[in-house]
């Protein structure tokens, strides 16, 4: 068993879990944050993507113990109670998601990209999404939404939800 304390979405959370528990299972099953998805469990599909210490990673390829003391951002941490993130707003407006399963992973990869490159080109967006598989949409509207969100974020637009 390992005991880990992780700062998840701004809140320090502690758990004691079997050592072989991945960060993905810790988030989903112990912390009840089911936004990150299990698609393949071997780091190919990216549905489990979360942001650890500012970098997007496959949470299915990280042991819970390796996340001890780190900062983790999941999809649940992107929106606040009264405000959706511009990416979430853009994905909704552009109808970028269909079944939605890949969505949280894609949005977090996109957030990490825009945080590093505020004005990404289409090749840069494609490269950033290279680890997120989508079987429904063909990515076209995702790229559109990411460009739109990047523009909004550079113009510092604040959207209120609902």
């Amino acid at each position: 068993m390992v005991t880990v304390t992780i700062n998840v979405n701004g809140e320090n959370r502690t758990a004691t879990v079997p050592a072989e528990t991945t960060l993905l299972r810790l988030l989903r099953e112990t912390f009840g944050l089911t936004g990150s998805k299990l698609g393949c469990d071997v780091g190919d599909c990216g549905a489990c993507t979360v942001i650890v210490d500012g970098l997007p990673v496959n949470s299915c390829l990280m042991l819970a113990g390796q996340a001890d003391g780190r900062e983790v951002l999941t999809i649940e941490g992107l929106a606040s109670m009264d405000r959706v993130h511009p990416l979430q707003r853009a994905f909704e407006d552009c109808a970028s998601l269909q079944c939605g399963f890949c969505g949280p992973g894609v949005i977090l990869s996109a957030k990490a990209l825009i945080d590093e490159i505020p004005d990404p080109t289409i090749p840069q967006i494609r490269d950033a999404l290279g680890g997120n598989l989508c079987r429904c949409t063909g990515y076209v509207k995702m790229i559109e939404a990411i460009q739109k969100a990047a523009r909004d974020m550079r113009g510092e637009t604040v959207e209120t939800s609902r």
Partner: protein
């Protein structure tokens, strides 16, 4: 995944001590970035009892230039290699190679050391380092030992590492600092692809005679381990740099390669790829040499 115990090492010495202690009684595996290990363990019958986590060993995460050469810590991730100003300037080929590995998420976790230790013949980091005559520094209970990368690999998924040793650093010798190098990977798609063939070429230019000086070629996925292309290198040494010579060197390199046929490609197709990629890698290195002249 099956159950195992995990011990987190504070530094490399601690890691070695943990390996030495637990490998007596248990089956032990090392986890760094986890991108190879965990993918392997998820659906595998052979699972370890103990996993030693070395990912916190800070002293294995630096990139420094010393008298000996460029020292890259084994725990440097592929994305850090891509971002390193030193490596961008000196060895853009290493940046290119890192960029072809997996995707953003795997590059943020996966380490250079891990890529070498996993030792699949199609590894993307090996050929460039082979062409640069890199050495590896291994840490064990008795301290460090150093050997050429070409002696590190024994075969598919086999290296000289003993159960109580870890790969600590990769050193590119001083004499090769700034040597123009180019790397190319051929996969069946642009992202998250396994290499069908990898090729790296590295050489100095004698600008007076316009000839190849110390040409080195590294090839991946065409033998049980990453190899050099000795016949091609011998062919190029001292020869005039022309497109025809580069093309012919590619054909010679195809003879150095011993690829197999599998469901991804036939041996003949792979040999063809070696010829083309070697030629293009030579062209790329030459283009880089011209910019640095």
């Amino acid at each position: 995944m099956r159950a195992f115990e995990m011990y987190s090492a504070k530094d490399s010495r601690d890691a070695v001590a943990l390996l030495a202690k637990h490998s007596i009684t248990s089956k032990v595996r090392v986890i760094a970035g986890g991108t190879d290990l965990l993918a392997d363990l998820k659906f595998s019958a052979h699972s370890p009892n103990v996993v030693v986590d070395i990912s916190r060993a800070q002293e294995l995460k630096s990139i420094t230039e010393t008298d000996e050469g460029l020292r890259i810590g084994a725990l440097v991730t592929h994305s850090r290699i891509m971002r390193s100003p030193v490596i961008q300037k000196m060895f853009p080929a290493l940046v290119d190679a890192a960029h072809t590995i997996g995707a953003v998420q795997t590059r943020n976790l996966g380490t250079l050391g891990g890529n070498l230790v996993t030792a699949v013949p199609s590894m993307d980091s090996g050929p460039t380092l082979m062409a640069l005559e890199a050495e590896v520094s291994i840490e064990g209970p008795d301290g460090r030992r150093q050997l050429p990368l070409s002696e590190f690999f024994l075969g598919p998924r086999k290296t000289v590492l003993k159960v109580d040793e870890i790969l600590a650093e990769i050193i590119i010798p001083r004499r090769n600092i700034g040597k123009p190098t180019h790397f190319l990977k051929f996969g069946l798609r642009k992202g998250q692809a396994l290499a069908l063939v990898n090729a790296a070429a590295s050489f100095w230019v004698d600008w007076e005679k316009h000839t190849f000086v110390a040409p080195r070629i590294g090839l991946g996925a065409v033998a049980p381990k990453v190899i050099r292309a000795p016949q091609a290198e011998a062919f190029l040494e001292g020869r005039k740099i022309t497109p025809d010579v580069m093309a012919e060197a590619g054909l010679v390199a195809a003879n150095d390669a011993k690829p197999i046929s599998d469901f991804r490609a036939s041996a003949g197709y792979r040999k063809n790829l070696v010829a083309v990629l070697t030629k293009r890698a030579l062209e790329g290195a030459y283009a880089l040499a011209k910019t640095r002249r």
